[in-house]
């Protein structure tokens, strides 16, 4: 095949996959709105997405806050503005670092496991078995996972904010001797509700992206154990790229919110 038609074919394949994804997401959304509501399954997945991600979110949040405090101090100490460290780090956390890093961490843990789990169910015909029992697999398997991620990733984002700020406080106030009063004043001064809400909106969108991509890849898995492996890798990479590119567009959309 010549390079031009090879490119053409891969573009067509991507467009088809994207169309398939949109259709999948739409149908899962509709299925989730219709009864019966799977509360038990929703709670189970919320536990998995949220509670079981706490450790990694706490560790990454803590060290992110601490390292940004060090970096900010290097910059601000040059013109004697160390008091700004808390405000700047808090602003970066709430608006960017927490939603993006939380989503990327949860993607690695949850997006991959959703793809692997549904992929295994697909290749071992468990999804066919559900359908054969007149159960809608989109409603039973996909909708609770999507909803759980949309609820829990923003919650984890808030925890990341708090822990990150604690890490920043420890480094700035306890180690770098930034005055405690000024540290907190600047935070209240810089960060307002819009920043926090905007960060949570981002986190919710990212949660939707990582769960829907993971479920879609799992659901459309073909070809045994190898296929499951491929689906898992693809899910993590595609969702990661979508989270980072989506972040740019979300930031542009949300920007007027904090200006106005």
């Amino acid at each position: 095949m010549n390079p031009v038609s090879a490119l053409g074919h891969s573009i067509i394949a991507w467009v088809e996959a994207f169309g398939g994804y949109l259709q999948f997401v739409g149908r899962a959304g509709v299925s989730g709105l219709l009864p019966p509501y799977r509360t038990r399954l929703l709670l189970k997945h919320m536990h998995f997405v949220g509670v079981q991600s706490l450790t990694i979110v706490i560790i990454t949040g803590l060290f992110t806050g601490m390292v940004f405090a060090i970096q900010a101090e290097i910059g601000f100490s040059q013109f004697g503005a160390n008091g700004l460290i808390g405000g700047i780090v808090a602003l970066s956390l709430t608006r960017e670092l927490s939603p993006v890093l939380t989503a990327l961490m949860v993607n690695g843990r949850v997006g991959s496991s959703m793809a692997a789990e549904l992929g295994t169910m697909r290749v071992t015909e468990q999804i066919d078995a559900l359908e054969s029992m007149a159960i809608d697999p989109l409603q039973y398997l996909v909708a609770p996972r999507l909803l759980a991620a949309v609820i829990m990733v923003p919650a984890l984002n808030m925890i990341f904010n708090l822990i990150g700020l604690a890490g920043c406080w420890y480094v700035a106030v306890k180690q770098l001797r930034v005055p405690e009063g000024g540290f907190w004043d600047r935070i209240w001064w810089y960060v307002d509700a819009d920043d926090i809400v905007g960060g949570c909106i981002k986190a919710a969108v990212f949660g939707f992206i990582l769960a829907s991509v993971g479920c879609y890849q799992g659901f459309t898995t073909r070809g045994g154990a190898e296929g499951v492996g491929r689906a898992t890798t693809t899910a993590v990479v595609v969702a990661g790229v979508l989270i980072l590119t989506g972040d740019y567009f979300l930031t542009r959309i949300l920007a007027p919110l904090s200006v106005g």
């Binding site: 295994t120 071992t124 007149a134």
Partner: protein, 267 residues
């Protein structure tokens, strides 16, 4: 060719001219099959000839490229998702590799259809209470020779045990149409005979139900079948009674039935 004996009054499953390809691979190339109500029809054929694909068409899990499938009075192609679900309510399917839910234990697997849909009665569906579910699940596990394994996880089971749990799960709601995909492959001869008895017994106790069994075990086929169809190169090569299969002149069918290496089918 049609079976010569009586055909039950109510329609069973009727497959006409279905074709199915995956990419460039033609799997089904115009399959016609009559599965009369009140009987056991066995589809035989070599591995990879599309027997499982055929069964998935009957349940509407796959859509044919061409042809029609009628289940009772319903043409599957004309049904929306909701109506298709209503049709599936009437089915029980045993998957070739059992397809048990590995997030649940054995008991939960068998109880699952009852929890989801209740039990059917003359008046329609009825919710079941936990003691009723327990009694029914234990009855079914007993029927497949697995009393007392309810608490085991799916991964702890042997292949044969999985198959039998799959069978119990398929039968638990007393479905009207039963589809078995190689229910005895991989089981020892005694267990095979027990499962064959179960299939035959279920059919004989419920004259209104319809069984479609996929098999490549000729002895078992002759034990349980009312009608046999042989799938070969994407089509039904021969449809008839077990007697007709025993005495056919068709060299392809003879080779398969007798399990010989020499003949028109090349390995």
């Amino acid at each position: 060719m049609r079976a010569t004996d009586e055909v039950a009054a109510a329609p069973g499953i009727h497959v006409q001219g279905i074709k199915k390809s995956f990419g460039t691979q033609v799997v089904l190339d115009g399959v016609d099959l009559e599965v009369p109500r009140g009987h056991i029809t066995v589809v035989i054929g070599r591995s990879g000839t599309g027997k499982s694909v055929l069964l998935k068409h009957v349940m509407g899990l796959l859509r044919p490229d061409a042809g029609t499938i009628r289940v009772g009075d319903d043409d599957l192609a004309t049904l929306g998702p909701r109506a298709l679900r209503q049709v599936r309510f009437r089915f029980g399917m045993v998957f070739q590799h059992a397809a048990l839910f590995d997030s649940m234990d054995v008991y939960e697997n068998v109880a699952f259809p009852l929890r989801e849909h209740g039990f059917k009665t003359a008046a329609g569906q009825r919710k079941m209470r936990e003691p009723e579910i327990k009694a029914r699940v234990e009855e079914m596990l007993g029927a497949v020779g697995l009393t007392g394994v309810g608490a085991k996880g799916v991964s702890e089971l042997s292949g044969g045990m999985r198959k039998r749990v799959g069978l119990a799960r398929a039968l638990v709601r007393d479905p009207e149409f039963l589809l078995y995909d190689e229910p005895t492959t991989g089981l020892d001869p005694i267990m095979t005979a027990q499962i064959d008895n179960l299939i035959r017994g279920t059919q004989d106790r419920n004259p209104g139900i319809t069984s479609l069994v996929i098999s490549h075990d000729m002895a078992a086929t002759f034990r349980i079948a009312d009608h046999v169809a042989m799938l070969y190169e994407g089509r039904v090569r021969l449809y008839g009674t077990p007697e007709e299969f025993r005495h056919t002149d068709d060299p392809v069918v003879r080779q398969f039935v007798e399990g010989r290496l020499d003949g028109p089918i090349t390995v």
